[in-house]
């Protein structure tokens, strides 16, 4: 992961990013929300996962075939599709997908009780952010689990961890983790391969704006091709609570309202609802399957907002 390098941004893109940063700092007063339909963003197309899974094959085939206990970490920037690629790769080789612990299991910190019913090797944990909560009773489970994983006590496995979650876990469990990998930043060639047809300068600019994140680049491209929509921006009246909600949702790649309230007890329930609705109206978060998540279109604005407020952002 230390070798990861963001694509260089052309000067024009840097100016655009600076302008966007100032727009986020000094947002316009909100206009009255118009029809829901009118605000729907274009659906952004998912890309073919096979080349990514092939890349994992060529990188890890030797390790996989050796079958020795131990793990590899794969860091997944939000919307990059890394977790989906890892799942595709795991299915290809019949690796078992491990189910995340329930809230009660997180609190009990009984690794054996959680592990035994699904014990098998090799396996894949496809989202480590579901294995902890940012609360005083939500860290013990992962602190007990990580040493077991690194010692190989649970056999051979692949752990996919969101980049925001990983940044926090490195702070909470300050051990120099070995075998941490990530995909290289998407370049112009890769973007052409997934169907973005534009000149080289445009592709370079897109890669830089998306930090080399392929899923994000596809979403930005979808908005750019759509004349009716711009990327969402931060509402004008953002407070500390707004930042806490957004940061917590990124840390856990989405949470239910109930869990969010548990993680942020200092925000009153009605205030939390107001924040969530306001952010939903601004198209920065969405509510699907009873889970609040950051939208792919809002990610850039949210990341810039959190970074400008001094939050601990991911390395991507």
């Amino acid at each position: 992961m230390a070798e990861f390098k963001r694509p260089d941004a052309p000067a024009s893109t840097k100016v655009q990013q600076l302008a966007q940063h100032f727009r986020n700092l000094f947002p316009k007063r909100d206009d009255a929300p118009s029809d829901e339909q009118e605000h729907d963003f274009p659906g952004y197309r998912e890309f073919d996962l096979k080349p990514g899974a092939d890349a994992l094959d060529s990188a890890w085939d030797e390790w996989r075939k050796a079958g020795e206990p131990g793990i590899k970490f794969l860091i997944s920037p939000p919307f990059s599709g890394t977790a989906a690629i890892a799942r595709e790769w795991a299915e290809r080789h019949n690796w078992r997908k491990i189910t995340a612990p329930q809230e009660s299991e997180l609190a009990d910190v009984d690794i054996d009780k959680w592990w035994k019913p699904q014990a098998s090797s090799p396996w894949i944990i496809d989202d480590l952010s579901n294995y902890w909560r940012r609360g005083t009773d939500g860290l013990a489970f992962i602190r007990a689990l990580l040493p077991k994983l690194f010692r190989g006590e649970l056999g051979q496995g692949l752990v996919v961890c969101d980049s925001w979650s990983f940044a926090f876990l490195q702070r909470a469990w300050p051990v120099n983790m070995p075998n941490v990998y990530c995909f290289a930043a998407a370049d112009e060639k890769l973007m052409q391969e997934v169907g973005i047809q534009a000149d080289e300068k445009k592709l370079k600019s897109l890669a830089a704006r998306a930090f080399g994140n392929l899923g994000l680049a596809l979403a930005l491209w979808a908005v750019e091709k759509d004349d009716e929509h711009d990327l969402p921006s931060m509402p004008s009246d953002c407070h500390d609570e707004t930042a806490f909600v957004l940061y917590t949702l990124l840390l856990h790649t989405g949470l239910s309202g109930r869990t969010l309230q548990k993680v942020l007890p200092m925000i009153a329930a009605d205030q939390l609802d107001v924040q969530l609705l306001q952010l939903q109206q601004a198209k920065l978060i969405s509510y699907d399957d009873e889970v609040w998540r950051i939208t792919v279109y809002g990610y850039l604005a949210v990341r810039d907002f959190l970074r400008s407020r001094g939050f601990f952002v991911d390395a991507f």
Binding site: T136, R171, D240, F244, T248, M266, S308, R309, G310, F312
Partner: protein, 271 residues
């Protein structure tokens, strides 16, 4: 004869020069007035280092404008020879020394404060037992607002004689210390770990900064001091409130008891 000598120091001021001086003064005052409104407006929308940098530009810009205006105006009024300048400064010094010593001392300290930076707008300082955020640095005094929203004017003069305690010293890092008091008989390592996690899981905490717990044994029990930094110095009181509330909730779940001061250690306060 003396009157002639004094008058000889000055140039003949034409009406054009008077207008020019008036324009220079007006423009200088307008720039200073505008900077004192625009920069805080911008700073309110920024956070961390960027906010403090913008705030720090206000007094610096004022001194620059003030000095430029003086450099512009003085040669229009006075024959700027060494002899003349010595005579005028001597006379002015004498008048100031008798009449406005403290006022001028504050003005000079204000200029010193701009380059020595004992405090900048946005800093949290304590002077003479008063703690608050520096909101404005004027020519004569610094304006600070206490946590209870009381505005306190501190003359720059204090810079010469008093200790100025600056909690964040121009940066966004401000350490908060939250105390917990427990009876002596308990597992201190367990409590220390719990308190560290309380800080680590606070949404206000600056994760780039260290979190430490200091334990000291007292006659009445054990004193825990949880030291951590909020993301923004302005959040310090909400941060400490969050740490206290969640810290107490976590400690209540442990086999520990909160310490009560025994009668022999109680401080008796006379009405």
């Amino acid at each position: 004869m003396e009157t002639d000598k004094i008058l000889g120091l000055f140039k003949t001021v034409t009406s054009d020069a008077v207008i020019e001086i008036a324009v220079v003064i007006t423009v200088s005052v307008a720039i200073i007035w505008l900077s004192q409104r625009v920069f805080p407006w911008i700073a309110d929308r920024l956070h961390g280092k960027q906010r403090l940098f913008v705030l720090a530009m206000i007094p610096t810009l004022r001194v620059i404008v003030f000095v430029l205006a003086i450099i512009w105006i003085v040669p229009m009024v006075i024959e700027t020879t060494v002899q003349n300048m010595v005579a005028i400064l001597g006379a002015a010094g004498l008048a100031i020394g008798f009449a406005m010593k403290d006022y001028v001392s504050s003005l000079i300290a204000g200029i010193v404060a701009v380059y020595e930076l004992p405090y900048r707008p946005g800093d949290w300082i304590e002077v003479d037992g008063t703690y608050g955020e520096v909101k404005h640095i004027g020519m004569r005094a610094v304006e600070m607002v206490t946590p209870d929203d009381t505005v306190v004017f501190v003359p720059h003069l204090k810079l010469w004689t008093e200790l100025i305690h600056n909690a964040n010293n121009g940066g966004p890092s401000l350490m908060c210390v939250t105390s917990f008091y427990l009876t002596a008989d308990h597992d201190a390592h367990r409590v220390k770990q719990v308190l560290e996690d309380v800080a680590l899981t606070s949404p206000y905490v600056q994760l780039k900064q260290p979190i430490t717990v200091i334990i000291s044994e007292e006659p009445w029990g054990t004193h825990y001091r949880l030291k951590a930094y909020p993301i923004d110095p302005r959040q310090q009181f909400q941060f400490m409130t969050d740490l206290t509330a969640r810290g107490k909730a976590c400690l209540r779940a442990l086999p520990v008891r909160f310490a009560n001061l025994s009668p022999e250690h109680a401080v008796h306060v006379n009405p």
